[in-house]
């Protein structure tokens, strides 16, 4: 072992700040590195392959139909990726740290447990956000290139045919543009991200007391599925009075404790070319924030006194 100057050992009495955003970001960026080095971004290659296959298909349908198919499949893939990745990566990160006992060395440093939890969640969300942006970029490029091509082809064909008036041409172009690349599609990506954020916060809560990653994954998927039946549960709760006590209790549990993932399905309309009210987007973002705070708070309640 080599010699060193005495300064290597000089004690330094640093002050410890209360809840530190810096420490949160250190843990978040470490989680990003961990997920990246776990080669999770390979999923993006699979997504790119799906887009390439979609682009090479030439189904016997209208240009608007082709664009709609590209959108539906690619946004569907993005959505599945976002929530599935949120569940699996969140369920892996914390139990892995506990199992590998990396948590010992992290929590023996001046790190608060809430900082650790928020850091892990932010790390997962960071990777999801980047992945969604990349996927959206690829999808947007594919849509734009097809849309431009179709518009040019339609214009050429309709202008050459005397039967079509300028109004007919305009209507046809508008139809293609409605199914093409529109700014509103960004909101559909945001909806997928918000939904993934909520499901990640649910999984992080489950991870704080689950005995294995598999348990967290299974329960999170169940919560996610049940969360899509929220409206059904609510209507049963409100309008059915002859349910058994068990059913009534179950419905109340669903209503109170399970996030309503159905609310995020407004993105389906956007993908089909419908308009969206921006107030709804703000409401959804706000609601997501509430879900995150509630589930992080519940996670902290369990995690703060957890012994390792």
């Amino acid at each position: 072992m080599s010699q060193t100057t005495p300064s290597a050992f000089e004690p330094a009495t640093k002050t410890v700040s209360p809840l530190s955003l810096r420490r949160v970001m250190v843990i978040a960026s470490s989680s990003v590195t961990q997920l990246v080095r776990m080669k999770t971004f390979y999923f993006l290659l699979a997504f790119a392959a799906i887009i390439v296959v979609l682009m090479s298909l030439n189904p016997p349908t209208t240009p608007a139909g082709v664009l709609s198919t590209i959108k539906r499949i690619s946004f569907g893939t993005m959505d599945v990726f976002a929530w599935l990745f949120a569940i699996v990566s969140t369920a892996l990160l914390i139990p892995k740290d506990i199992e590998d006992r990396t948590l010992y060395t992290i929590l023996s440093k001046p790190v608060r447990r809430i900082e650790y939890l928020i850091g892990k969640l932010l790390g997962v969300l960071w990777v999801i956000a980047v992945s969604l942006l990349v996927m959206y970029g690829v999808c947007a490029l594919a849509l734009w290139s097809r849309e431009t091509l179709y518009i040019a082809e339609e214009l050429e064909a309709m202008n050459a045919d005397a039967r079509y008036s300028a109004e007919n041409v305009g209507a046809q172009i508008a139809l293609i543009e409605q199914q093409g690349l529109r700014p509103e599609l960004g909101i559909a990506v945001l909806a997928s991200f918000l939904k993934a954020a909520v499901v990640a916060s649910v999984t992080i809560f489950l991870s704080t007391f689950a005995s294995s990653s598999l348990f967290s994954i299974i329960i999170s998927v169940l919560v996610f599925i049940i969360g899509h039946a929220h409206t059904m549960a609510t209507s049963f709760w409100l309008y059915q009075t002859d349910n058994s006590l068990f059913v009534q209790l179950l419905l109340k549990v669903v209503k109170i404790f399970i996030p309503n993932f159905q609310l995020y399905s407004f993105s389906h309309g956007i993908i089909q070319g419908e308009a969206v009210a921006y107030s709804l987007v703000w409401q959804m973002t706000g609601l997501t924030g509430v879900y995150l705070v509630v589930f992080l708070f519940l996670s902290l309640l369990v995690f703060i006194d957890k012994e390792f």
Partner: protein, 292 residues
């Protein structure tokens, strides 16, 4: 500010085993000990004796069921206490996907280091633990000894006043073990308090000032090492260059005394570890000379 580095007072830790109230295990039972600043304290005991539980409570990873645990006057669960502690776990628990340098950067940042200060600190510690050449390799490819050394570097990253070492040389070869021992002595020289948990008794004997022997969660013996290991009614003398005639005279003198007997006589022995280390050094020196 407390004048003690660690103060454990009447600490009891009970783990429940099941849902029944009667289903529990007492891991540590009314344990008390103190570690003064600058001291090397060794807590020894067999597996399952409560060493790790005690250490985890001092680290704030667990809270005691009863009693008080203070680190430099702060409650062990207080984040300010953890700022004073550097911890080297038995099996280095670090992210295998990070390199040695990235590991130190991660822990350094957690402790509030930034920029040039962090960079210099990392370089200083990598040099200290002799891992400069492996700084950019991922920990997944490190040997046990290298992991232990990078673990020690991360334990020292925030310049802690107390270093807790859990079986620091477990699974490390004799040379690595000697390096870690030297480092502990260096820490001691520099006034850092060391709390060492081990069942490698020879190592504890070499570095510790104070020793506590824990068994089934209770402190059985505690005190300065020299006091604990000396046999009061016996005296040892080691001669060098003594001729047989002189030894015969000494024997005669002892036999002439009614109350004294020779319990043991022979050549003092080195330890296998010392023999191994000296041979390794000799071989290395020969190789260097051959290269010249």
């Amino acid at each position: 500010m407390s004048d003690l580095a660690v103060k454990v007072k009447n600490m009891t830790k009970v783990f429940s085993k099941g849902l029944k109230k009667s289903d529990y295990v007492v891991a540590v039972d009314n344990l008390s000990f103190e570690i003064k600043p600058g001291e090397v304290y060794g807590l020894i005991g067999p597996n399952g004796s409560g060493k790790s539980t005690t250490m985890k409570v001092v680290l704030g990873l667990m809270s005691p069921t009863k009693g008080d645990v203070k680190v430099f006057g702060y409650d062990s669960g207080d984040i300010r206490a953890r700022n004073e502690i550097g911890f080297l776990p038995e099996n280095p628990y670090f992210y295998k996907h990070l390199t040695g340098k990235e590991t130190l950067k991660f822990y350094g940042k957690l402790c509030g280091f930034r920029g040039r200060e962090l960079k210099d600190r990392i370089a200083e510690l990598l040099e200290l633990v002799d891992l400069e050449s492996a700084a950019n390799r991922r920990l997944g490819g490190y040997s046990k000894g290298m992991l232990q050394r990078i673990g020690l570097a991360q334990a020292l990253i925030q310049r802690p006043r107390l270093v807790i070492l859990d079986e620091p040389t477990a699974g490390v070869d004799p040379l690595g073990s000697r390096q870690i021992r030297d480092l502990i002595l260096k820490l001691k020289d520099d006034g850092i308090t060391v709390f060492l948990c081990s069942h490698l008794l020879e190592q504890v004997q070499e570095v510790c000032d104070q020793v506590g022997i824990i068994f089934e969660g209770r402190m059985r013996r505690e005190g300065p090492l020299e006091e604990l290991i000396q046999i009061e009614e016996q005296t040892a003398m080691t001669f060098s260059g003594a001729k047989p005639e002189l030894l015969a005279k000494v024997r005669e003198l002892i036999e002439a005394d009614a109350g004294a007997t020779i319990v043991e006589e022979g050549h003092p022995k080195t330890t296998l570890e010392r023999l191994f280390v000296s041979l390794s050094h000799a071989t290395a020196t020969e190789e260097k000379e051959d290269e010249k």
